[in-house]
């Protein structure tokens, strides 16, 4: 149907302007939404590069056996900090782009929105790690526990440092700080692998385990502080 006829049809069916529309829409209760629908609706707002990083890691691990052999674990260990920082920057996106006040005026609280997105990314990264750790363990020849340590420590270290930096910097600086941290952890990881391979031996597993516990505990504290920061804005 051509546009002229469509326009003419719209005009022909056009009713007189309603008089009570605005008043009615102001007092109408907002439609409810289930928790699952709300969480899933946030998936669409997570930026594509976040999914891209996870997909690249998955692809590298998948092709690792054919192209990199046992060295695939070091490559993945060096890339995992970027996956961690993508989650941190996503969590702090409102602050990075100075949109927190505006987002708080929206229908759902900023805290709910951030928690929903972190829930989605947390599940995706958990699945990613559950895939990466056994694959790398198999290719590298180390145990699953040992491989888990070598992958999780740089991941959590980056996440912790990223959360710390995001709380102390503003605007786009947060973004640069977080990715700078990921670069540093990644490069440090590669340097240590090359210069001090002995640190990845079974003798140092207790030290790695302690490091994992430390970054995990600190990570929980930093995450709580981030969530409290969101709540503080609500009280202003």
């Amino acid at each position: 149907m051509d546009e002229k006829l469509k326009k003419a049809l719209r005009d022909a069916f056009e009713p007189p302007a309603p008089t009570q529309k605005e008043a009615f829409l102001k007092r109408i209760p907002q439609p409810g939404i289930s928790n699952l629908s709300f969480v899933l609706s946030q998936a669409g707002y997570i930026r594509k590069y976040v999914w891209g990083i996870s997909a690249v890691l998955f692809g590298i691990a998948f092709m690792g056996a054919h192209m990199f052999g046992k060295d695939v674990m070091w490559g993945i260990s060096a890339l995992l900090p970027f996956a961690a920082v993508s989650v941190v920057t996503e969590q702090n996106r409102s602050y990075i782009f100075l949109m927190s006040e505006l987002e708080m005026a929206a229908r759902f609280s900023l805290k709910s929105v951030v928690l929903a997105r972190m829930e989605i990314l947390g599940i995706v990264h958990l699945l990613l790690l559950l895939f990466l750790i056994p694959v790398c363990a198999r290719l590298h020849g180390a145990s699953v526990f040992q491989t888990g340590l070598y992958l999780l420590v740089p991941y959590l270290l980056t996440a912790d440092a990223g959360l710390w930096a995001a709380r102390r910097t503003k605007g786009a600086e947060s973004w640069y700080a977080c990715f700078g941290i990921a670069d540093c952890v990644s490069v440090l990881n590669l340097i240590v692998q090359k210069l001090y391979p002995v640190l990845f031996g079974t003798r140092y597993i207790p030290a790695w385990t302690l490091m994992l516990a430390a970054v995990a505990i600190y990570g929980v504290k930093e995450w709580k502080r981030s969530m409290n920061r969101l709540s503080e804005l609500l009280c202003v």
Binding site: A8, L9, D11, F13, P18, F24, I28, P31
Partner: protein, 152 residues
């Protein structure tokens, strides 16, 4: 679903059915209140169809008055729109009034309120083929009427 956008469309539909502004507004508001009260609507895949079904049923229950428009409302349109468009609108309106109510309803739902064929099927409880055939028939008749007036 954008409630404000759907309000305009449901109001347009109710006005078509009832031909009275106040009654159409009342039915539109009642439609939305019932839609929001329904426990099932949140998770229903066919929200739009559900909304139109409520509107349709309420219109059928409401008292139907004359649908002729006062002339001053058409004059308003003439002040703002280009002359050709106004003439075309008047011709289309005249041609529409010669179609059956069912045909008018189909054209309104499909081309003005932009419902999909599936949604119209669900609302009118007819098959996709039947809806498609009726829409094509209505369009053909409308064009024939417009051609007769040299506005096709």
């Amino acid at each position: 679903m954008d409630l404000e956008d759907q309000y305009d469309k449901i109001y347009r539909y109710c006005y078509f059915k009832l031909g009275h502004r106040q009654m159409a507004e009342d039915v539109t508001q009642e439609t939305f209140l019932r839609f929001l009260e329904s426990r099932d609507y949140c998770e229903r895949g066919k929200k739009l169809q559900f909304l139109y079904t409520i509107a349709r049923n309420l219109c059928m229950d409401a008292y139907r008055r004359t649908r002729t428009e006062p002339l001053e409302e058409l004059a308003e349109l003439a002040d703002e729109a280009p002359e050709n468009q106004v003439l075309m609108s008047i011709a289309v309106k005249t041609a529409l009034s010669q179609l059956a109510e069912e045909e008018q309803e189909l054209l309104l739902l499909r081309y003005v309120n932009e419902l999909t064929v599936s949604e119209i099927c669900g609302l009118l409880q007819v098959s996709r083929f039947a809806v498609y055939r009726k829409i094509q028939k209505a369009l053909k008749r409308l064009r024939a009427l417009l051609d007769r007036e040299d506005f096709g």
